[in-house]
């Protein structure tokens, strides 16, 4: 599946494996979770109060639109959280 974001500046750092809804994905050192997911998907989460999905909005930790769940139960703000190796993102199957 194609993502929303595109990487313009090549990244020399180490590859960081993580998963999105159980599917293996790869990020680079220095990637924030929001970008890492949106390179692979077109959205981050479902909207709670109606149809539709959300992909974040302000990217500066202000709008709180990008809170997502991890398989271990944690909830993180994707735009201010760095990807860690092995992170298991749970989007509920959005952004395919």
């Amino acid at each position: 599946m194609s993502g929303l974001f595109q990487r313009l500046a090549p990244r020399l750092g180490a590859a960081i494996p993580f998963t999105i809804d159980g599917m293996p994905a790869e990020a680079r050192a220095g990637d924030l979770l929001l970008g890492a997911i949106l390179l692979h998907r077109r959205a981050l989460r479902r909207f709670e109060f109606g149809p539709g999905e959300r992909a974040g909005y302000c990217l500066m930790g202000a709008c709180q639109d990008c809170w997502i769940g991890l398989a271990d139960g944690r909830r993180v703000r994707a735009c201010t959280t760095l990807v860690e190796p092995g992170m298991a993102v749970v989007t509920g199957g959005v952004g395919g």
């Binding site: 709670e48 109060f49 809170w67 769940g69 139960g73 944690r74 909830r75």
Partner: protein, 382 residues
């Protein structure tokens, strides 16, 4: 300066005051209501939202049971959804001693016609498998529930206006007096002449009573509230604990509302603020009850200003110094459920001089010999 002449003037704009305005209009009396800020924005608008009979002082049970009947018809009466749901109210025991308290209360409540179900550890686990290990038993009141406090007061205020009452917001009352012929109430921007006067001034009820030579020690009380982001349905019932140090419910939209402890009250400006350490404490206690909330995010905290009496039950009834003056204040942190019925009771007192509900425990004379101020402390039971 506006001048109004009405049958009844009401000081205060909480749910009880606005419900009284509605009840007065329904009996044909003209009404002016004076609220210092916005109707329903004080304690009645920012409380936990518990609609419960369980756990109340036994003296309050007759009023509370009468109120409970009104809640079923409130949406229809007010013409909007106030979010009432009879989710049940469950009071949790965290020790043998707690369980004994619940057993005693259940017996006493049964004598007043309130049926509570005692649950042992196994029954409780079966009912709420997500409760933490600290909980060992509970008492369930299936007919209790919860509602959205933010909309109830304003909805009563609008209904009162539709029925022809004269609510005045941003109109703090400076003074009220009786001159032998009637009452004069001086508020910002408006002076009201009336035959009867209702003191529903919440934390300021004691001040108003004092204008008429009556002692009523009211201490400011500001419950500290916390709410999480919307979460999948989990907390099926409104939860309280013996001791009252924490209470939790989940709204229809998924937010988990929790409270416990006190904020700070600024009596001068009539505002209350939450205290960070208290919020953190209530969060920790909530987690002990419901470990599955560990990852939830708290998005807001708040507090509101209520009035508390030394015996934790309100003042409701006629003045003993001034004919035509009726009091209803000092609900001590648990007036939300009573608000609608207190409106009816006030109308009964003014129009008939008596109420269908037993009000003797709430008479203001019980403080006639009270000397000095009163400082409220301890938990607020929910």
């Amino acid at each position: 300066m506006e001048r109004l002449t009405v049958d009844v003037a009401i000081i205060g704009g909480g749910t009880a005051a606005c419900a009284a305005a509605v009840a007065f209009r329904e009996t044909g009396l003209t009404v002016a209501l004076l609220e210092k800020r916005l109707c329903g924005a004080g304690a009645s608008g920012v409380n936990f939202g518990g609609v419960r009979q369980q756990g109340r002082d036994l003296a309050e049970l007759p009023l509370s049971q009468r109120a409970r009947l009104l809640w079923d018809g409130l949406n229809a009466k007010l013409g909007e959804d106030v979010g009432f749901e009879a989710t049940g109210h469950i009071k949790l025991a965290r020790s043998e001693a707690d369980m004994a308290v619940l057993e005693t209360y259940a017996r006493d409540a049964a004598e007043h016609g309130l049926a509570l179900q005692l649950l042992g550890p196994n029954a409780l686990r079966a009912e709420m498998p997500w409760l933490g290990s600290a909980v060992m038993g509970a008492s369930l009141s299936p007919t209790d529930g919860q509602a959205n406090p933010r909309v109830v007061g304003p909805a009563f205020a609008r209904l009162a206006r539709r029925l022809g009452a004269e609510p005045r917001e941003h109109a703090p009352v400076r003074h009220a007096a009786h001159d032998g012929a009637g009452f004069t109430v001086e508020a910002e921007g408006v002076t009201v002449r009336s035959r009867s006067l209702v003191n529903a001034a919440g934390a300021f009820g004691g001040v108003v009573a004092g204008w008429f030579g009556e002692a009523a020690p009211v201490a400011p009380l500001s419950p500290n509230m916390v709410v999480t982001e919307p979460l999948p349905p989990l907390v099926t019932r409104s939860i309280g604990v013996v001791g009252g140090d924490v209470y939790v419910r989940q709204t229809r939209r998924g937010n988990v509302v929790l409270g416990g402890g006190r904020g700070t009250a600024d009596v001068a400006d009539g505002l209350a603020r939450p205290v960070a350490a208290t919020s953190l404490g209530a969060m920790e206690k909530t987690l002990a009850l419901i470990p599955d909330l560990a990852h939830a995010q708290v998005i807001r905290t708040w507090s509101g200003l209520d009035g508390e009496m030394p015996d934790h039950i309100p003042v409701i009834g006629p003045s003993c110094t001034t004919p035509g003056l009726v009091h209803a204040f000092g609900f001590s942190g648990h007036g939300f459920q009573l608000g609608p019925v207190v409106g009816e009771i006030l109308a009964e007192l003014v129009t008939q001089g008596r109420s269908a509900s037993p009000l003797h425990p709430f008479r203001i004379e019980r403080f006639a010999d009270w000397r000095g101020p009163y400082r409220s402390e301890g938990e607020i039971e929910h």
